[in-house]
Amino acid sequence: MSERKLRDLIAEVKRGCVSRRRFIQTMVGLGLTAPLASQMLTYSGVAQAQPKSTYKPTKRGGGGALKCLWWQGATLLNPHFAVGTKDQEGSRIFYEPLAGWDHEGNLVPMLAAEAPSLQNGGLSRDGLSVTWKLKKNVQWHDGKPFTADDVVFNWEYAADPATASVWIGSYKDVKAEKLDSHTVKVTFPKPTPYWADAFVGTRGMIIPKHLFEAYKGGKSRDAPANLKPVGTGPYKFTDFKPGDMVRGEINTAYHEPNRPYFDSIEMKGGGDAVSAARAVLQTGEFDYAWNIQVEDEILLRMEKGGKGRAEITPGGNIEHMQLNSTDPWTEVDGERASVKTKHPILSDTAVRRALGMLVDRASVQEHIYGRTGVATANFLNNPERFRSKNTKWEFNVDKAAQTLEAAGWKRGPDGIRVKDGKKLKFVFQTSINAPRQKTQAIVKQACQKAGIDLELKAVTSAVFFSSDVANPDTYPKFYCDLQMYTTTMTQPDPELFMDQFCSWQASTKENKWQGRNITRWKSDDYDKAYRAAEGELDPVKRAALFIRMNELAVEDQAVIPVVYRPRVAAISSKLQAPLSGWDNDFWNLRDWYRDA
């Protein structure tokens, strides 16, 4: 979709001919994230939808205990050191950011009084600053008032390299200043299209200045409050056993009326995904279990008991097949799959195109992943109910065979196609995981029919996903022809996500295979579009660029998207918990309640 078409569409939204929701659906169908689409509207002057809260209880407390199960327990409770989601979620019980992301990508104010926009003067036209108005009358759990000083302190804290905050990337280049006791201005060194990064969502939880001031920099890890959080959230800290249990009790001075509903909260760690799902869906011992990666058939069987349901939340994770652009079987300068080489067979466009037609995504979805994996043609996310009709994929063995035939790949005596003495034979690796091995089998069968021989390889996950430089079987080394895994999208803006096709990100020996471009695919058009998007302030132009990038990568078959994988949580049938694929599970814990 071109920039002009986008503008026309936005104009229609403005006139009211197209609903806001419909627009976001279309954008997501094109491979954009919901937050980005929502941002486009905000920038173009369409007021952000006021996300309606579905919270019903009319008084604070009285809900008893909320028991949650995290099969990997939180190990520390300072959001600035929270690498894994388990630690982020543990911190999120007690701390809040200025705003969070809801499931449609709307910015929901938490500690901010309102979401910044052009209309309310929060955003500047030049994209160089954003002004946050803070909510008044917010108190820390120890009774001290929450002010702009706390927000500015969080920037100083995170931007200091000695603190070693995991979110330093979001804070080091920006500047935060206090305008008055409840207004903070964030300035950027260059026009920044994605301004809702610092102080927002997962990376934006605010810690109190009066408790952490003495522990900024090198002493950051010694702060007693790292293990005994004092935040602004709906629950106050009571007890913490690292890796095992986080407990909280109701914050009676919470800054939202009638919230929270529960008298206490318990986040229990340990176990595995199947037993966690069972504890919620079958036995009903717990109210909520996070991230249950269980085959859908097993989930469906558990749900039959009626004690709970599996909640599917769209996010940006995608299971995809990668095609190696470089030659993994020849060593150049001491490294296989060097960027100086070209794959002897996969560099043939016809072969790549044929492979794309040999992945039976419909069967993979229907018979393996069920609700937990949706067939898709896009690399950027594609939630089921938003599925676009514009993008296509097809499964067609005959057409694949014709494509190969036309490109000069003729069947040999053993049924495997040959051209110029090169046999159409690939090694296809993935991690050990029952659904992945089944997908491998499905792809292999289709390839066999079309005259391609696949040798399947399965590597144990601990090795496959490790960054061990000495091991040849890790996914960043990609020492084989094809591989498959899920790449995760950790933040709502696609900029960081889409850098995995930039040529300068190629994973090589030089950068110890830390580069994000695993396929080592190279396209000048893509590089140019990415560079342009980095500095493009107009969200509409920027969106058009991201759509173009998605098309470039998918059309050239650098990767073959297989299924889009939403987040899955187990929720007891009476619990109401608004979830979002663009933020933590606990992003809106204040609105959680149980139906009577």
Binding site: K438, A441, V459
Partner: protein, 288 residues
């Protein structure tokens, strides 16, 4: 001697039954694929997780693949791996044990040190190392399946000879002092002849039993390696792998797990009984 052994073996009813079952299994995996020509990897979703039927006598797995043809194909590999690994373990173990038992002194001590050394090696890390070092070069040489077969057989066999060696050495130490050995020596038999004709046949009983247990262990070890991604490619249906794939569906499709489980169980049990019977039949001291 053959007729005599056979007569004695026949007296052991369980061993006879075991031999029969093993023969049936062996014949089935050898000639079954020639008669039952359904491909092992024909995916047929509408037929997934079905029980016994005329089209699929042993039912299907979760991709609708025919279990009978997979079992027959996998049996070849599992049996071959088990027997070959057992053979290596028994041959190496007997040789080491016999050498140590007969030579005494420093050779005995050195060999037993080596045995202890092997026993104390952490097997899994070493396995990983060996497989990483040699997998690719072997694959180039003989292809992925044969390469992995050779590697697994050598690795499993090479790590299971130590108990055999100790058993044989213990037998040798006790037998060499027995009167009949002394008598043989007094008659002028060479050491080689005493070992070959007198001590070895008498010490074979425990070795055969240990060997039969090794077959079972090798079949299991092969599935362990497959589980770690170091065994055969994931689409090669060995018995251990079929069992592993089936475990999550035990409550909806029990046949899928029961069939390979029963096959492994029957094979191991039959081999054990055959070993039992063979020991009785070969033991010259036992009167039957």
């Amino acid at each position: 001697m053959g007729a005599e052994t056979w007569r004695r073996f026949r007296r052991h009813k369980l061993a006879l039954a075991g031999a029969l079952i093993l023969a049936v299994i062996a014949l089935a995996v050898l000639f079954g694929p020639l008669l039952w020509r359904v491909p092992i990897n024909e995916i047929d979703f509408p037929a997934k997780l079905q029980g016994t039927s005329w089209r699929h006598p042993l039912g299907t797995d979760d991709l609708g693949q025919d279990l009978l043809s997979r079992m027959l194909y996998g049996g070849r590999i599992s049996l071959a791996v088990g027997l070959a690994a057992m053979l290596i373990a028994v041959v190496v173990g007997t040789a080491m044990g016999a050498l140590a038992g007969i030579s005494r002194g420093s050779v005995d001590a050195a060999l037993m040190w080596i045995t202890d050394l092997f026993l104390s090696l952490p097997q899994l890390p070493l396995l990983l190392l060996i497989i990483y070092l040699f997998r690719d070069s072997l694959k180039m040489l003989v292809g992925p399946e044969v390469g992995v077969f050779i590697l697994i057989v050598i690795v499993i066999g090479g790590f299971r000879w130590m108990p055999v060696a100790r058993l044989v050495r213990a037998q040798f130490l006790s037998l060499r002092e027995k009167e009949f050995v002394e008598a043989a020596r007094a008659l002028g038999a060479t050491t080689w002849r005493t070992v070959w004709r007198h001590i070895l046949p008498n010490s074979l009983g425990p070795v055969i039993v240990a060997g039969t247990i090794d077959v079972a262990a090798a079949i299991i070890a092969e599935s362990t390696l497959s589980f770690l991604g170091l065994g055969f490619p994931p689409d090669i249906p060995t018995w251990g792998r079929i069992l592993f794939d089936a475990k999550d569906y035990l409550d909806v499709a029990p046949h899928w797990a029961v069939i390979p489980g029963a096959a492994i169980f029957l094979t191991v049990l039959s081999i054990n009984y055959i070993g039992d019977g063979l020991r009785d039949a070969l033991d010259p001291r036992k009167v039957m």
